[in-house]
Every structure is written in structure tokens, then in C-alpha cells.
Amino acid sequence: MSESTLCTMNEAVDRFVQDGATIAIEGFTAFICFAAAHEIIRQKKKDLTLCRLTPDLIYDQMIAAGTAKKLVFSYLGNPGVGSLHCIRRAVEKDIPGALEIEEYSHFGMVGRYIAGASNLPFFPLRSYFGSDIIRANDNIQFIESPYGDDQVAVVPPLNPDVAFIHAQRADIQGNAHIWGLIGVQKEAAFASRKVIVVVEEIVEESVIRHDPNRTLIPGLIVDAVVHEPFGAHPSYVQGYYDRDNPFYLDWDRISRDHDLTEKWLNEWVLDVPDRAAYIEKLGSERFDNLKPGEMLAGPVDYGLYS
């Protein structure tokens, strides 16, 4: 780990994502690593189990591309826009193939990652009372408190084979600073057997060391670091770029039709060699428009104690 684990996305996916693997690409509305998803599609990985609270466009695309056999999730939506039509098509009509689903609520998914990350056999939460979710998913159980008349739901650990975590910056060992909506990235990373950190910027170790409370993912658990600027487009990275909302609206139209979806996947994923080519194809003006103004955090002094 004190060695560089830098590699390309092509190498990372080739090396760590096996057919049939369980994958988590997390990030709540933000930090969604489409760069990883597109490379997985390009490498024609199959029979994946895809885990994510909000499958979002990223899994809509992966499922339309036929990479997945199963989806573990808690909310299917194109945020602020509407439905995820590809996933609906898979669930409602087996197009492009049957898709097994395993459904929780958000808190249940969070609990599964926490249990997975901390080697607990279950995680307790107050949810699911009276809900049909427990009828659809018998992984959810209830247990009694040993301290009196109180019952809580429990969910089992989730330990993906591989997690992709998108971050603003990391050193070459994968020690990663993340700020903004931190979501479940930490829990998903610690829960996963292999962790790939994908960043907007590679920085000197000293940048990380000067703000150790900001290190959400320690290099200790990181297997590969991929430098992939704009790797979360069309989602956003706090302070680096905004969500490309026109794309989310376009996708609503494209994804309603499977042929149109396939055409889009061909043009923007399969016929594009890598992320850099995708960014170039989109054009730099598109990204100019997504650049936010500056809002810097104030000074924080850790102190030199020598």
C-alpha cells in the first residue's frame, strides 16, 4: 500500500471485475462513477449482481447493456426526472433479459453495508414494521431486544466483491478526500473485498496528510486508483462540476425505447475507447457550463506539534 496502485480503468475493470461478481458503485446523486460502468459494459462483463441504494442512470445503462443478472437496491428513479425505463423494462418485460431483484429501503441498504463493513452478522434498525417489503424479501428479519419488550428489524451484511468509489482527490496509494454528499461510500468501501478509487485529481500525499479528518477512504483498503477526470459525468462532483441535467432529461426520452437505448450505448460507450474519448466527444463547452463558482472552506489549523 505504500506503493502506487495507479492504473487505467481498463486495467482495473479487467483485473478486478469477474463475470458473476457482486459490484457496488455507490454515491447518492453525486460521485456516480459512470466511467467504471461504461468500461464494464465495454468489457462485456456478465451476470453481475449490482448493488446500489439508487440504481440511477448508471445501473439503468448497465442493465440495458445486459451486464447484470440481479439488482440489490432501495429506490428506482431518475432523480428529479422520473422512471428508470430500462430497469422497468427488465422487471416488467424481461428486456433485454430477466432481472432478479432484491429490494430494501434506504436504511436497510445502509445497514447492510455497515454490517458488511464491520463484520457484524446483522444490523438492527427500526423499519419494516407492517410493510410488505418483508414479504418480498425474507432477508429482512425481526429480533427481540434482550433488554425488555422491544423488537427491531435486522438486515444481513452485504460484502460486494468490488466497490468503485469516486472521489475528488487521492494520493497514489488511494488515500481519498471526499466532501459533499458522502452517502454510503465509506461503508460500501469497507464492506467490499476489493476497492477501486476513481478520482478527479491525483495529489501529493501531503495534501491528504494535511487534513486527515477528510480522508473518507484510507489507502489501506484500496486495491487500485484510477485517475479519471469527469469520471462521474453526467452526475456531479462537489466543487468540480455540476450535474448535467439535460442528459438526465435526454435519458428519460432515450431509455423509453430499447433500440434507441442500444443505439446510445453503441455510440457513447461501446464505440468509445475510454473515458477521455467520451469527454472529448462531448466537447469542452459542455463541461465549461457545468463548472461551479468557487466556495472555499475556511482555514483549519491542525498544528505542528514538534
Partner: protein, 256 residues
């Protein structure tokens, strides 16, 4: 926009929801109508109302109208941005949320909500989004306000799927399960308001939007709806409320 009135059904719902937030301290909020309603409450009767977003944001101060609960404008200049684990464990389950606004594709007489499927679960006719945080919000928020358009196919005799518990089978069935929050208090629609009976916990028509009648509402509810003995007319949106919505909160009319 309702032709005979100077406000839209959405504005009626926003204003009703805003008014129902009076007296609450902390509200758990999604974007869209609920977001506008909460901000209207802050800008009118409840300036100290605190908003908590499911994405982990407390004390947001957005520089633009957010597109989703995960919009980066909700993060920048907010008081606190936390993990989803903290959001669900410390804020929601920890009991800090006084009131939450929820919706769904179907609702039954006890305020139970379905946002999962239409048709059978294994092979749904329509696959809806699912719970997201709704199930635990319905359970842990101290009380719940439901916002939905009034439609017969939404106000159903029996849900296709119970995603988020309201008063379950009524009476004390919710309380007996040890559910922390008190459940739905009010159903806010574009055409009427419904409360819940203290004892049976069944939905009761309590207020009518201007132009509606008990009969017009009954026609949109699939079960024989209870009618409050003193049904009154809803107070239409006030001028100042409409001004705040139109000039400050939704100048582009995205949610009208």
C-alpha cells in the same frame, strides 16, 4: 391554473402543506412540492423551521431551486452534510424529525402508502420506485403529512403493496407493533383535506377546496369515505403566500 380561481391545484397543496407545518421544528423533506411547502412555511409563519434532507443535508441555504434532494446547491453553504448512516440513525431514528412529508401511488383508508408496484410483485404491471427512505420515515418521524393528488385509482380499497406503514389496520395496530412515530396526521390533496379518526384511525374528509362538494370528493375515493360532521371549506391561498411561491420559491413555475 384553475380558470375560476387565481391559483393552481399545486399551489393549493403547497399552501395547505405549509400551513400544516405550523408549530413543527424539524421537517424531513424531499424536493418538489414538499420543498416549496417547507420553504413557504419558513418564509411566512415558521421562520425557525429546520429542514433535513434525505441526502444528509441539514440547514441548506440553496443558491438556486434544487433539482433533486441530492443537488450540489443544497450542500454548499449548508450547516451540516452527513453520511446516510448518520442521517438515518442519528437524525431520523434518533427521533429528531417532528414531521415528514410523504406521497405515493396508492393510499388506503388508514393512510398506508404504496410506492412499490402496481400489479403482482413478481411480475408488476408498473414497477414504481420502491421505498427509498419512505418506509423508515413513515415509522420514525414523529408525525407524517401525506401529499397526493386526489384520484380514484390512487385512493384505493386495497393497496397492491404496502410500502410505508400508516395506521396499518387502524385502531391501535400501529402502536401495538412498537412503531415510534404517531403516523399520518393529514392527507393533503388538491381537492380536499383528510384527517384521521382518533380512535379508528380511519381517514375522514375534513375540508373541501373551493368549488368541491362532498359528493365530488366521494367519487374519487374507492372506499366509503368517512365525512367529518363539520366539513369546512379550505382557506384558499393568501396573496402573500402566492407572492412568495411565485416570486421567490418557484419563479420559473416548475412546480405549478
Amino acid at each position: 391554473m384553475n380558470e375560476t380561481m387565481n391559483y393552481s391545484p399545486a399551489e393549493m397543496m403547497i399552501v395547505s402543506a405549509s400551513r400544516a407545518l405550523r408549530g413543527s421544528r424539524v421537517v424531513f423533506v424531499g424536493v418538489g412540492l414538499p420543498n416549496i411547502a417547507c420553504n413557504l412555511a419558513r418564509k411566512s409563519h415558521s421562520p425557525t423551521l429546520e429542514l433535513v434532507y434525505e441526502s444528509g443535508i441539514f440547514g441548506a441555504n440553496p443558491a438556486r431551486l434544487p433539482l433533486s434532494i441530492g443537488d450540489p446547491t443544497l450542500v454548499s453553504d449548508s450547516m451540516s452534510a452527513v453520511s446516510m448512516a448518520d442521517l438515518f440513525m442519528l437524525y431520523l431514528q434518533g427521533g429528531l424529525v417532528n414531521v415528514a412529508l410523504l406521497g405515493g401511488a396508492q393510499i388506503d383508508r388508514f393512510g398506508n402508502l404504496n410506492s412499490t408496484i402496481i400489479g403482482p410483485y413478481e411480475r408488476p404491471k408498473v414497477r414504481l420506485p420502491g421505498s427509498g427512505g419512505a418506509c423508515e420515515i413513515a415509522i420514525n418521524a414523529q408525525k407524517v403529512l401525506i401529499i397526493m393528488r386526489l384520484k380514484k385509482r390512487a385512493f384505493v380499497e386495497k393497496l397492491d403493496f404496502l410500502t410505508s406503514p400508516g395506521h396499518l389496520e387502524g385502531g391501535d395496530t400501529r402502536e401495538n407493533l412498537g412503531i415510534p412515530g404517531e403516523g399520518p396526521e393529514l392527507v393533503i390533496t388538491d381537492r380536499a383535506l383528510f384527517t384521521f379518526s382518533k380512535s379508528t384511525k380511519e381517514m375522514t374528509l375534513s375540508e373541501l377546496a373551493p368549488g368541491e362538494s362532498v359528493e365530488s370528493i366521494k367519487a374519487e375515493v374507492s372506499w366509503p369515505i368517512h365525512i367529518s360532521p363539520d366539513v369546512k371549506e379550505m382557506d384558499p391561498p393568501g396573496e402573500e403566500e402566492l407572492r412568495i411561491i411565485r416570486e421567490e420559491l418557484d419563479p420559473d413555475g416548475m412546480y405549478r
